[in-house]
């Protein structure tokens, strides 16, 4: 049997997926906790354990993400944008636009029918559309970031964040707490501001249906709801939205390995 592994080592989380020719066998996720190399190694061991495999049995390892350089060789490294595109195409082949909300950035990727990158925009130099702003405001509000989605859905009156900037958002959140605004409304307001920001990025490449969302932000139903409302499209979520990058890393690594074999045989 031939087994493949994909690793997506992000700024906050390391994600691993094990696959064979029939599909996904196991996945695992763990926090980086300041040590990329260790997190990459451990998340892979955990994923392998889940399907009772050893690392020696892996035929191809693909890596992506900010910390891909920390993945031991022989991993095939690829850019996150391409991996996200391949990953979502594997999971939801009808998708033509992908919104990936990671900790460091939000990306809007337009896909070809083959899952290649037709166009892409990234919110560089601005944290407002990225997951890190959720962490910041969760800390200010004294809540767990994983609870923000449900809290947001309970809001009927989101507060307005006037500045499209994560630094100012923190100040504004503190002001709203001082004004006794409900936490649910503050969280919903934050999601709305993020949705505006991501929506404005998405407009630059003219969204095509179907649209999917992945990354840590996709696990937040409050943010996803606001985003659907802002861009006016139904958003599709893969079953495991955090793993599209790791799956894409496997697929791209396979593409490269097959291409190299083809070149050698010619």
């Amino acid at each position: 049997m031939i087994y493949y592994a994909g690793l997506d080592v992000g700024s906050l989380l390391a994600k691993a997926v094990i696959m064979d020719d029939d599909g996904i066998l196991a996945y695992s996720v763990r926090s980086i906790d300041g040590n990329f190399r260790q997190a990459a190694r451990q998340v892979m061991v955990e994923a392998l354990d889940k399907c009772g495999l050893l690392s020696e049995t892996l035929n191809v390892v693909g890596a992506t993400g900010l910390g891909a350089a920390f993945v031991n060789d022989p991993a095939v490294r690829n850019t996150e944008i391409s991996c996200q595109a391949r990953g979502i195409h594997y999971l939801l082949p009808q998708v033509r636009t992908l919104i990936e909300i990671g900790d460091q950035s939000a990306r809007v990727i337009k896909l070809t029918e083959k899952g290649m990158v037709a166009d892409c925009v990234v919110n560089d130099k601005c944290a407002m559309g990225s997951g890190s702003v959720l962490q910041t405001i969760a800390k200010v509000l004294g809540i767990n970031v994983t609870d923000m989605g449900e809290l947001s859905l309970q809001s009927a009156n989101p507060v307005r964040f006037s500045a499209g900037c994560s630094v100012f958002a923190e100040t504004e959140a503190i002001s709203r707490i001082a004004e006794n605004a409900r936490i649910e409304d503050i969280v919903a307001g934050l999601h709305q501001a993020m949705a505006f920001k991501i929506g404005s990025i998405a407009q630059k490449i003219k969204i095509e249906s179907d649209v999917a969302v992945t990354g840590g932000g996709a696990c937040n139903p409050g943010l996803v709801k606001m985003l659907e409302k802002t861009i006016g499209n139904k958003l599709f979520l893969p079953r495991e939205p955090m793993f599209s990058g790791a799956i894409g890393a496997v697929l791209m690594a396979l593409e490269k390995v097959r291409m190299e074999k083809l070149c050698c045989s010619n």
Binding site: I81, A85, I109, A118
Partner: protein, 450 residues
């Protein structure tokens, strides 16, 4: 695993390009020598009115703060100047050229106009006057005005008419503009004569114009040769060669140098030698590069076989003036006016064909994209820069809709390395390769020839 150390500067592919930095140093040294000898000195902007050539014909030595900004950025010595201008209240969103220059000018002033010892390239001496020009750039309108106040020297502004593509074809429009420009140039000559207390050397001006046209013609021929596949030169070569043709085109040494550039490029074309050994993608670059990280372009060439085959229209010479246009003109100021007008409007027929405006920031790209068989366009805007941003989306859309050529936007600043994220830029570039592959297929389906 041994990580390859990233190079911040570019190796350049032409031998002549590697030597071109000499001209920047020569300008700086000449102005300092002029001050020592009691001759007049000016700081000038790139203005395409040939105001610098007019001033030189009257014995003025010139230095260009924009070129100095690139010099400081490339040697990574701009940050102290940037910080100093910011401490004087200039915002960090202002273009790095302006901030570098304003910070430098403040240091110069505070040192009683003795060039501070640590100045990059030996520094720019205090000028006797400033020659400014906006040319659609907001920072440039105000930057030299502020400089004039720092240094208490006069500022002369040469500004040209920029007509829309429809207006360009109105009867009499061009000649009215030329008349206006000649009057402006005459006023500039009077200003210089009053300031310097000497008369214009008209014969000297004509000689300089003759050299300038010859240098520009060679530069234009080099541009044409870059249409060849594989491209004989790339952007990092051009940005070095820009120094002689943009700042010293009326200099005999620059003319002789450009003959060597021409010969080197021609040799490569004749022998089918590409600038990079594995040209797979031909890209075009919009606006000016991150001078502090030119090694980025070597990196993408090595990783992906990307050759940047052409750059923004602003920094290239225009096609030579037609003989009919020059015929019978005896006034060198009229010749200059016609050439300057030509520089800013030669793409008017293309603008008319595509029904787009403004001529200068849109139409040339649509011509280049076909002529140079471009696979993708890279924009490098500073978000406060109007010339780099106000037509950005328009050009992106036009290129995509009409030619199926995609583009990539990487924000940054020409001088300020603090706002350029090289890793993010490389990651975006990696993904953009797929985008170019996809659009190459689309072009094929639509019968576009490249």
């Amino acid at each position: 695993m041994e990580e390859k150390k990233k190079k911040r500067s570019s190796a350049k592919t032409l031998q002549t390009a590697r030597e071109a930095g000499y001209f920047g140093k020569k300008m700086l040294a000449n102005t300092r020598m002029a001050v020592d000898e009691g001759r007049p000195v000016a700081w000038a902007m790139v203005e395409w009115w040939l105001g610098a050539t007019i001033a030189k014909a009257m014995g003025v030595e010139l230095v260009f703060p924009e070129n100095y900004g690139a010099f400081c950025a490339a040697s990574r010595t701009a940050e102290p100047n940037l910080d100093y201008s910011e401490s004087d209240g200039f915002p960090s969103t202002l273009c790095g050229y302006a901030r570098n220059c304003l910070g430098y000018a403040r240091k110069l002033k505070e040192n009683n106009f003795v060039i501070p010892a640590e100045s990059t390239g030996g520094g720019m001496p205090k000028p006797d006057f400033l020659l400014a020009c906006g040319a659609a750039c907001d920072a440039r309108y105000k930057w030299f005005q502020a400089l004039g106040r720092y240094m208490d020297v006069p500022v002369w502004l040469l500004e040209f008419p920029q007509t829309g593509s429809k207006e360009y074809f109105l009867p009499g429009n061009k000649e009215e503009n030329i008349s206006y420009m000649v009057e402006e140039l005459r006023a500039f000559v009077s200003f210089l004569e009053d300031l310097l207390g000497r008369k214009m050397n008209w014969d000297g001006l004509e000689e300089r114009l003759d050299i300038l046209f010859k240098t520009h013609e060679l530069a234009y021929k080099v541009d044409l040769m870059r249409r060849t596949v594989p491209s004989p030169a790339v952007c990092t070569d051009f940005w070095a060669l820009m120094i002689p043709h943009l700042y010293l085109p009326d200099d005999l040494e620059a003319l002789a140098f450009y003959q060597r550039v021409y010969d080197e490029v021609k040799y490569k074309v004749d022998n089918k030698i590409g600038a990079i050994p594995n040209e797979k993608y031909r890209m075009m670059f919009s606006e000016l590069p991150p001078w502090h990280t030119l090694g980025f372009f070597d990196e993408v060439a090595e990783r992906h076989g990307v050759a940047f085959v052409f750059e923004s229209w602003n920094y290239h010479v225009p096609p030579p003036l037609l003989e009919d246009e020059k015929k019978g003109i005896t006034d060198p100021l009229e010749l200059i006016a016609r050439y300057s007008y030509h520089k800013f409007h030669h793409a008017a027929p293309a603008a008319k064909e595509y029904e787009i405006d403004p001529i200068l920031f849109t139409a040339p790209y649509l011509e280049y994209v076909r002529d140079y068989q471009v696979d993708g366009l890279m924009f490098h805007p500073l978000m406060s820069c109007r010339p780099a941003t106000y037509t950005l989306m328009h050009v992106r859309n036009l290129m995509l809709e009409r030619f199926k050529v995609p583009s990539l936007v990487i924000e940054g600043d020409i001088v300020d390395l603090r706002v350029f994220n090289e890793e993010e830029a490389l990651a975006k570039f990696d993904a953009f390769i797929e985008t170019m592959d996809y659009h190459r297929e689309l072009r094929k389906k639509e019968g576009l020839h490249w």
